[in-house]
Amino acid sequence: MNKLVKTQDVTYEYVRRDDDGNVENIVNAIEGINISIEEGQMVAIIGHNGSGKSTLAKHLNALLTPTEGTVWVDGIDTSNEEKVWDVRQKAGMVFQNPDNQIVGQVVEEDVGFGCENLGIKTEEIWERVADALKSVDMYEYRNASPNRLSGGQKQRVSIAGIIAMKPKCIILDEPTAMLDPRGRKEVINAIIRLNKEEKVTIILITHNMEEIIGADKIFVMDKGKLVMEGSPREVFGKVEELTEMGLTVPEATLIGKKLYDSGLPISLPVLTKEELVSEIGRARLSKFR
């Protein structure tokens, strides 16, 4: 498979200055990061607040460029200033707060905004906007005013705005953190659909572990470093390590682990509710036969 995103020994230094502009100290927000993401994958980046996950994400669409090391997006070195817009067209970014991302007065207009900046012909923009809105199930709201939408709907409009630019990859930085439970589900379902049906590569940053049970790969960041990477089953199998880093695991995984620790012979790790229930049934039969 094609490596869509690749980083090699990426370090980003953050310089803190005092009031007079003198350097106070230099902090490595991220350090020595090597990751690669294949085209069509859905990957997650997790880590506590300040672990460097957002800094890493911002490197993947050239919002930041590394102090040391290299980031390639679809083969383009993101430090090449002439190619910044190519990188951003290939890897679009959706942020946490939907209210800060919406600029248009009408949904359609907002979704077409990015395409307009790319200099695409008007006719094609309309086509792309319609397709993008359909792909996140927001087409029927195309003529609505964005400020009348719910948080989940606004966030899907933001995603459509990126989709309309036909990126290969979407980076979402805690897109569900501000949403109510239904909004969260709507946005996650839209993201999963884009990945499965439109083959868009997804890079999702989140604190909600239930959202990434189906991911192809999870990267775990701690204190600016990549400390773990693997499938959800591999990563969530390490409950103690994750807890020590201040992270959680899916609730079913946690309950499964605690039941196992108290003597119920279930196979670990369990990821979903359904898996947990059937594991409890199986373990019960073997234990109490």
Partner: protein, 280 residues
Amino acid sequence: MLLIADHLSYKYDKLNKKNVLDDVSFSINKGEIVSIIGHTGSGKSTLIEHFNALNTPTEGTIYYDGKDIFEKDYDRKALRAKIGLVFQYPDHQLFEETVYKDVCFGPTNLGLDKKEVELRAYEALKKVGVEDDLFFTSPFELSGGQKKKVTIAGVLAMKPEVLVLDEPTAGLDPKWREEILNIAKRLRDEDGVTIILVSHSMEDVARYSDHIIVMDHGKKLLDGTVDEVFEQAEILREASLDIPESTAIMRLLRKEGYRVNTAVYDADSAVREIRRTLRF
């Protein structure tokens, strides 16, 4: 009863041609932790803005400590010191050059003398656990969790009787979420401050509240204890909400024929209940 909403209505949203608040009544007792939950646009924010008279109802009123706060002669300025609002985005509430100055702002505005202001600011910062070495840094250099602590301290320095927290944990990681909610719990347990929590996290709400009020399209949908509210999974889902994940797991077990109690809201209680049912 400390705070009573009495047939409160607020008609404002001309765009959507509907009431933002529609005949909402409930009461909150002194020293309770009450959560208000509801979908985006359900009226939660408008509702809490009525608690300290930032908003004026179209119909109905609010009684605080037995007095109608929208009466002409009611001292609403004093009320705003008694009912402290902590907004969702710390960046909208912080503005001074240093953390310490920021926390001094509220009590200074109350007209207290300098010594009292400084004492209160110090106490408030200690109460929320802000370290001394952060007192003279800019609040904007702090992490999201630290900023939240400082905004809470800024409100605490006015010695409120009620603390209203609007989505205090949105965007925070699990460790910070717990830390912020434990501050609220400590304030209630140690100082008897009544806490009103607005949240989208069903887990947090279940874990910390004595009482939950559920809003839906401007109306009060449910009002009861944690058990009473989270028993209504279908009603909650219809209102764009949900039940905690542990509760959903227990309900699934129950559906499969296990005789578990479904009034369970966290992993440890779930494990206890499963062990009790399976007898191991």
